[in-house]
Symmetry: D2
Subunit: 283 residues, 4 copies
């Protein structure tokens, strides 16, 4: 279809909405949705997400991008335009737990996740049969302390230019800073706690030990700081003294898969802007 999305962030100032909407109007585009957020009226940042329709968009989009640069320069914009009809391509990383992967596969299969799953990469063989039954390529790349650098080289090679976004769907390996540089704000991880509580390993055991009454999960972009990247989405569920660590894990699996799936959906629909260490999510 003839729809595209434009994401813009820039220093706030008068006339931005007018300039952008006039530009789009002159190009023959019709704005069907727009969401704007200004951090602080005085000297803050301006963020906007615009969905527009443009007849015969494929023939005109490159010209539109070229012409828009003049508007962008005037307001010092960070900006991007994405064709709504062009699915993002995902590489899903997984270890031995299957619930997050299964949810993404199911939502993809049901048409609820508008993306292509280009491949699944794992440090274990366990999910091969499941993944291949969906006719998705499965790459087994074992990782040890010694082979980590080598494994990441292989990852980059396989992923190549074919993939937009990486999803760590309970992938139990820490990604190196060098690797991260290739995908700034394009690697989504699910952490199995309500961050910033229970950073690091065994969060459900930590939660049980502290006696919390709600447990949660957090989807975030991966940065160099472990479990410290921009939070995309969080949710919680009620637990009680009756729930032991295994119960927390079981309940937690349900939150994790829901939270990760929401975050991935918003990402592939270009609903997320990142500013400093936070997300602006237009939903």
């Amino acid at each position: 279809k003839n729809r595209a999305r434009m994401l813009i962030s820039c220093p706030d100032g008068p006339g931005i909405v007018a300039a952008v909407s006039r530009f789009l109007s002159e190009q023959g585009a019709n704005i069907v949705q727009s969401d704007q957020y200004t951090m602080d009226p005085e000297g803050g940042m301006f963020f906007i997400r615009i969905e527009f329709d443009l007849p015969d968009i494929l023939s005109h989009i490159e010209k539109l991008k070229q012409d828009f640069q003049a508007v962008a320069d005037q307001f010092q914009m960070n900006w991007s335009v994405h064709l709504a009809g062009q699915k993002k391509r995902l590489a899903i990383f997984v270890s031995k737990e299957d619930h997050c992967l299964l949810e993404l596969l199911w939502q993809w299969h049901a048409g609820d996740l508008y993306a292509d799953i280009a491949m699944v990469i794992s440090n274990h063989e366990d999910m091969r049969e499941l993944v291949e039954s969906f006719e998705i390529p499965y790459h087994y790349i074992p990782v040890t302390a010694d082979t980590k650098a080598e494994a990441e080289r292989k990852h980059l090679e396989i992923i190549d230019e074919d993939v937009d976004t990486l999803i760590l769907a309970r992938y139990m390996q820490i990604v190196s800073p060098q690797f991260l540089k290739h995908y700034p704000n394009r690697i989504i991880n699910i952490h199995h706690s309500f961050l910033p509580a229970f950073v690091g390993g065994k969060p459900y055991a930590q939660a049980h030990n502290r006696g919390v009454k709600l447990i949660g999960a957090t989807a975030h972009y991966v940065t160099e700081e472990l479990d410290g990247g921009p939070i995309i989405e969080q949710d919680v569920e009620r637990v009680s003294h009756r729930d032991n660590v295994d119960d927390l894990k079981r309940i937690g699996r349900h939150i994790e898969r829901i939270v990760l799936a929401r975050a991935v959906s918003w990402h592939v629909e270009d609903r997320i802007l990142v500013h400093e260490n936070k997300t602006i999510v237009f939903i």
Copy 2:
């Protein structure tokens, strides 16, 4: 402060956002937030809420409204402009239950509800002391089947032009169609069920009888159809077999006051557009 809000609904078509934002820009206004919703790209309705700052707004707002009419005519707009600094004036109707009234008084007192409470009107004397302790006028107007028309005449007289919005905060009287005509989409009621379940009287008894596992409350604009007006907000809370009708009432009181207070806040911040029998709420 120099802020205003513009609400527009009109048939969708190309160039609306561009026309409005150019107009505002030419007037010297800076858009600080905008929310848009288009019902259906093909032949549907277009809705927008724009917050803008305009230096020395009080001197310019009347001129701006006059000039905007040309833009409005072009697109067949229903539109209004509201000064953010000018508080809406509320008349709260109440009977014998105080929880919804108390919540509004408390939020108003805390500065969370940006409105003036012009008066409280009741068919009972019970709340007089409470209301007058806040230095708010209290009008006792008893209502019986025989005196209903007369009572409503008195209501209109007291309210006069001084009040923008009427809040039925558990006011146990049905408002007549003639009365409603004076305040289209400006009377907010709280119904103590998750509508459309349990329309009419004794909804908690009905809920208990049906054995539901969640109970709710609904804030809506009042129309001629009992409990049938446009829904503004709803929420629910979990209940169990252990809760008898009195427990449901107690739990329900907490939902009712929260839901009503949210609806009133959104209304006084000009966040709600009504189309046919539904609300568009920009939050």
Copy 3:
């Protein structure tokens, strides 16, 4: 393991807990959990669920049941005893929508649903491959207005004595009263609305039309009254004016699968007692 669960309902009166716990103690059983609910202290009903451990339970359970009858008679008890280690056997009925079936299969596969899925029965062929990939028998029994009685005879034949509980996982056929008689309080349906709102067909279209701000789903035991049986579980999710009917269906699918899976879990763990048209759920 040596654990069993006892469910009792009877008219309330003094000494019930003492009599039951003395009986269990004398049999050598240790109570590890008990949940009690008395509807109304004066002349109401008494309900209890007791989990107990008994060494070498398989050799003693029949004797225990025989001996308990004397206690039961004294208090006019409805009662049952279930071995925790003996999985309930389920027959899942499904039509063309797969999300509820998939959730049950996934939870079963993950070990979260403690039951055997004895078979899947459908009036369509669509799910055969999926179901058989889990090595679960799939029975295709088409149903038309003319063949309904015949189809239900086939259902009974296939299910036979092998199955404890029937799950209607978005099975789009109404079950006849004659069929229901074979499985009182043992057929669980998921209705795709927050009952009693939106009884009958197309509840999401009804919900969209009414402009509700939350949509829900309801799991209930099936009785002769359509969508009128005892409610086991309900949940809701927030929606907005932006969500069209297809969005409601998508969001609703997630609620439906969660709500049905919870209800089935509670049922197979013997956590539900039915009294008149309501459930007592001990969780």
Copy 4:
């Protein structure tokens, strides 16, 4: 009325429920509700809360307690019996923020909080008029670094033996270990974050800085470790990038008052047992 509640914790072992229920039955008591939790069937702890009715309870309760000691000794029980009709007496500590105090006053006034508010103690004069309008004594005891020990001596003097439970309703002073010793598991604090996230001061600023998508509040018993005591209740509410620190505070006030009120209700209804650093809450 003739109702009492018995709370027991002891090492698990066979026959506890039988022994207790036989004892109560022999005393002429009728158990109207019981909730049991066994931490770990093998070698764990056993917890039970029993509500029972006993005719003419005031004349018999002392004898019942005396006689029960024999049962208690047999199983090494920690136990207590509370008359349901005898309200707990509360002292509420408050500083300058009124929302938590107001909620408790309102619930108490509405009859939802079954307790007596014996007094309000504050290090400021601000709330005097409000509190005295409910005919509740108000004690102004200023606290500085130098006068802290002296102030706490005054607190103890005023509270004396008249008060069962202390509520820190946004009381912005740290209570000393010496003071705490007088009220083990009888001082309830509301912390304005979802603990253990954002321990210490300015939790909303911390939350805003981290960009969380839900904020919360935590009611807990106060122990020597700051914000580290047994958690009684927690809840959260959704926030977004649009909410600045003041919005978080406003939203947070609503969560704080609800969470604190729930915790206090459970406490005064004898629903909470503390084991090590966790609560068992029977609701």
